[in-house]
Symmetry: C2
Subunit: 331 residues, 2 copies
């Protein structure tokens, strides 16, 4: 190969808000696959709020990305050379490709079925969809008739959470930032109501919309919104702790939820989870999700940016809330 392989390395651990300068663009030769390997050209990258956590040097559910290493990230690519049985040139694969134009892979890459939309493979039918599915149904132990509130509701995970809740006979209320996102939730995604946290009093609106309390609160944001929800949990509530995007870029860990103690009087449960634990059961979730998408029962939204040079600034969009739907970058 005469082409060069551009890679984004993490060159420093971010302090406070992650910055473009925490990454460095490097060029190196495109590698040659050995026996049992494939050479993949990256076509799409997915950006996730959790990436900020991967950049920290502290215990987490995956080892931290090392300084000077290619930034970790999911993507979809095309097999260009294969020395691995079962993979052929032209196959689309998904996996942890990293922020690089070319990558060597092995049998850990998942071949996408013919005709798969890469945007769906990286959102509703990928890790994001699985997070919503298992988080709500397994961790949240959803029951028909539950009042479900989800924060970050116009995000990739949150929007699926609310729509699964509706499909399961529950009431779904989403919290999102801005009138456009809220309109999408109620008009396109079928939520029963949406709260615009940038322009409304979240506590007052929750009280109004959930007069008998919240049965399942699916949290993607932490901070004051988590507290407003905790103040209004129903007896036996389940609080699914999925994310805390409001805290990821703060220099010091912010104070925790003042109202956590409501779980005593209300016999509530706050539970954290990591979707990787559910991967052995991915097939059942993907089957359900694919069916719902095909039937038009799950609306999905992706926010596509372009150009490999723009990967770091595309990540930043997640932390300012500039994205609307799953944040992707097409190379």
């Amino acid at each position: 190969m005469s082409e060069t392989n551009r890679q984004w390395l993490m060159c420093s651990r971010p302090v406070g808000m992650v910055k473009e300068s925490d990454f460095e663009l490097r060029s190196s030769p495109v590698p040659e696959p050995g026996d049992g390997q494939v050479l993949v050209r990256t076509r799409w990258l997915a950006l996730e709020p959790a990436m900020r956590g991967w950049m920290e040097d502290r215990p987490n559910y995956m080892p931290p990305v090392g300084i000077g290493e290619v930034m970790r990230g999911m993507g979809v690519g095309e097999v260009v050379k294969s020395k691995l049985d079962g993979y052929a040139s032209g196959d689309l694969v998904s996996g942890m490709l990293g922020w690089q134009e070319w990558v060597l892979g092995d049998g850990g890459l998942r071949k996408l079925p013919e005709g798969t939309d890469p945007r769906l493979a990286l959102s509703t039918l990928g890790i994001t969809g699985l997070t919503a599915y298992f988080g709500l149904l397994e961790v949240g132990q959803l029951k028909e008739g539950d009042v479900v509130v989800v924060s970050g509701a116009a995000g990739a995970t949150g929007s699926v959470v609310g729509q699964i809740a509706k499909l399961k006979g529950c009431r779904a209320i989403g919290i999102a930032g801005g009138a456009d996102k809220c309109a999408w939730l109620t008009d396109k995604a079928g939520f029963d109501a949406a709260i615009d946290y940038k322009n409304e009093d979240v506590g007052a609106r929750l009280s109004e919309l959930c007069p008998d309390g919240i049965d399942v609160y699916f949290d993607n944001v932490g901070g004051p919104i988590l507290d407003q929800a905790l103040a209004r949990i129903a007896r036996g509530a389940r609080i699914v702790v999925c994310g805390a995007i409001s805290a990821y870029n703060q220099e010091e860990t912010p104070p925790g939820p003042r109202n956590y103690y409501r779980i005593v009087a209300q016999r509530g449960r706050m539970e954290g989870f990591v979707v990787l634990d559910f991967l052995p059961r991915a097939a059942e979730a993907v089957a359900d999700l694919a069916k719902w998408v095909a039937e038009g029962k799950i609306a999905w939204q992706v926010d596509v940016q372009h150009g490999f040079e723009n990967v770091p600034q595309t990540l930043l969009r997640l932390y300012t809330g500039a994205n609307f739907g799953k944040q992707l970058l097409e190379l």
Copy 2:
């Protein structure tokens, strides 16, 4: 009856630390039992940290005590007159007698079996013991080999938690205030270790004592100690939220646990409970606890104050940590 009935009424809702002046002593005639009633003379009162919460005018697991009402409280008394089948003069009964010398009761009072020690009936074999038993075994889903940490460990509930953990083949570490309490935990109650939060660095000691993390953290205190424990939970940890005595007397709800988010990477669960939900299963717990006490496998400690006029200041002992073991008052 020619005697008067002295009663402690709650005369104002406490702001910040509860004060003696939030209560008022009143005298009224001793009441006469009607049909289906018994007249009971209060012999013992039990003081509980949770009483502070009952005095607040906000949603809780029991309605708030009303201003001008007799303060709610568990006690043991002696039946003096009975117009209720199955209860005879001289019977000892336990129940919500309230802070009063005489009280009319009905079939809701529990007759104590012959020979019962009222101090045990109000502590290890009463609500306190049930709280420890169901909180640890059911809410905490204790498994053999778990590393169990309990705060307020020299208190009535905490001391039973650690001892049940030991009986079930677990490692038990208690956090308590002062060298005397800590010595009792390791020397008399068989805890594997005790941490004196008044004189030791709780976080450093927990790291030392739980190198593989905490499997079950039974919390009676909230505040900074809860945070130190959360920072050190093991994969799949259960955090049993029983109390938060550090917060009860603060004028404003203090910040919540900064480290709550550790439950995500560690797949942890924080769960609140109210022991009243387990009362239908009380017999099984009391049978186990009574057997363990009789066999000398559970050490117990009560702190007995005297004189009806001293009830409010006896309650205050709980919030300064002056008590050692279950706080009782003998009339």
